[in-house]
Amino acid sequence: MMDLQKEKEIKTPVSYSSKIRRKWRDIWKYKAMYLMLLPGLIWFIIYKYVPLYGVIVAFKNYSLVDGMIASPWAHPWYKYFQTFFNSPYFTELLSNTFLISFYRLIFGFAPPIILALLLNECRISWMKRWVQTLSYIPHFFSWVIVYGILVAFLSQSTGLINHWIVESGGNTISFLTSTHWFRSILVSSDVWKEIGWGSIIYLAAITGINPSLYEAAKIDGANRMRMIWHITLPGIRNIIILLFILRIGHILDAGFEEVYILYNIQVYPVADIIDTWVYRTGLQQLNFSLATAVGLFKSVIGLILVLGVNRLAKRWGGGIW
């Protein structure tokens, strides 16, 4: 009995250390693989994880001279958050950001799904291919190009649409500098740009649906609308939920680049979003801590939303994790 126990005691550390040794041997065996991973890993740490740690700047009185670590802590720690919440811009920024995102979600989420369904129903394959190819193109245009196109159509003095308005006896409309039009123009440009590209992922999901389901439905006498409704849509349900959750998580990312390129001082009241404000406050007025605090606020809300919506989706039987 004693012997057995003794043996066990001795054996455990040995087998443990041999396990470690085996693990090291495994790692050594794949040393070339780790060497390949190294540059990318270093990059991720420096340019993704150090900035993540850098959000502590939100709680400090950051100065460029002292840097991220040596700058003194703000007092109280929520000083910059308080400044932001009490600032006169707070409600305006938050509502602009939320509204632009919300409109994008409402008007931009369904069109790619509808396009994918239409493409899937198209029986002329060369036509399907052409429509796909052409509708992807705008995705590859920069927002500067989109801005140029918008100027071509909407500019008050030279735009095509205003030319038509004048021809038919109306008064010109300053589309690009009007608070009334800005959001509609932004959101519709966005839908125009991404509708084709967004449909790819749904098309890929549709190709994964078992064709025998359609055969069976046909025998049962279902028409094509019914098949779309009862087979195709449920078949891509999971991917729809997944993309919806991700969109919700980014609801406070109203799109820095597009807003920055399209906006101007006249439309600030409806166009200024959290990100553009962070850019102006941080990099133009060099108020790094305040800008970081606002950025952090945005990220935390985004994370909470992703987790919350995922939880809801799980209850309906579809979440991401």
Partner: protein, 285 residues
């Protein structure tokens, strides 16, 4: 009756699809013809000038005669070529090991990569790091801070996962090392996915606007998109200046075409690859 209904269903779908395709390309076609036609001609026809009758390259001469445009073009070409090359190498080097299931620590590294899709430090902390690593106001600030896009990396990884391990085992038996395998076996098999991801990265670099806005104040380093945006905005101001012989609209339109031309030229050649590459990667990704 039923047959009529059936055909009208197909008919509606075709009409809708053609409508979508037309809206996708019509705006740029209009801009293209407006850049090649004297503006008076454009107005005479009420804007319907998809096929220009009178033809002038004056606006292009004007734009491409500006040294800042030529310079910006050079900056953008450099960033696009060097940047895409670095993107592809780093992504490839990371995606291959991550696609092999038996490597210790793989899940953890994968987790680190995926996490960056959900949370990030934000504009200012990233700026601080870019500044601290000495990149601000250098051309590298448009290349290094986005050297890897986690999403593209994951697409590449899930493509590599479809390659069978036996393929590599055989090569290892023959004494090939992993780098040789990557270069001689994996790479030739992944042309579609590399072209697809390469196009994504290249288009991203060509369209780069935010990075220079954040990191560059030296105007000699401004890439094309920034300069073109200035041209579009400036010409709007001097609209009524009688000294300018070419109508500003024509110049604006020509600058839009200059900014989009390379994408339009490259796209048809690469798009056949990315249909394939995207489908391979996205189904599982």
């Amino acid at each position: 009756m039923n047959k009529v209904k059936k055909h009208s269903f197909d008919f509606i779908i075709i009409v809708l699809l053609l409508l979508i395709a037309a809206t996708a390309v019509f705006p740029l076609l209009y801009v293209l013809s407006a850049s090649l036609t004297p503006y008076s001609e454009v107005l005479k026809n009420g804007g319907f000038i998809l096929l220009p009758k009178k033809f002038t390259l004056a606006a292009y001469n004007e734009i491409l005669g500006q040294s800042k445009v030529i310079h910006a073009f050079g900056v953008t070409v450099f960033v696009t070529i060097v940047g895409t090359f670095i993107n592809l190498i780093l992504s490839l080097l990371m995606a291959f090991p991550l696609s092999r299931k038996n490597i210790p620590g793989r899940t953890f590294i994968l987790f680190l990569v995926v996490l960056t899709l959900l949370v990030n430090g934000g504009i200012i902390p990233t700026y601080i790091v870019v500044h601290a690593t000495g990149l601000t106001n250098t051309i590298w600030s448009m290349i290094v801070p986005n050297a890897i896009a986690a999403f593209n990396l994951l697409i590449m990884k899930s493509f590599f996962e479809t390659l069978p391990e036996e393929l590599f085992e055989a090569a290892r038996m023959d004494g090939a090392n992993e780098f040789y395998i990557l270069y001689k076996i994996v790479l030739p098999l992944s042309i579609p996915v590399m072209m697809t991801i390469g196009l994504f990265y290249a288009a991203g670099h060509w369209n780069e606007f935010m990075q220079p806005l954040l990191y560059i104040t030296d105007s000699s380093l401004f890439p094309l998109q920034v300069v073109i945006r200035d041209i579009i905005m400036q010409t709007q101001d001097q609209l009524n200046n009688p000294d300018v012989s070419i109508p500003t609209v024509t110049i604006q339109m020509a600058s839009v075409i200059v900014a989009s031309l390379p994408i339009i030229l490259v796209y048809p050649f690469v798009q056949k690859y990315f249909m394939k590459g995207m489908l391979l990667g996205s189904i599982k990704g």
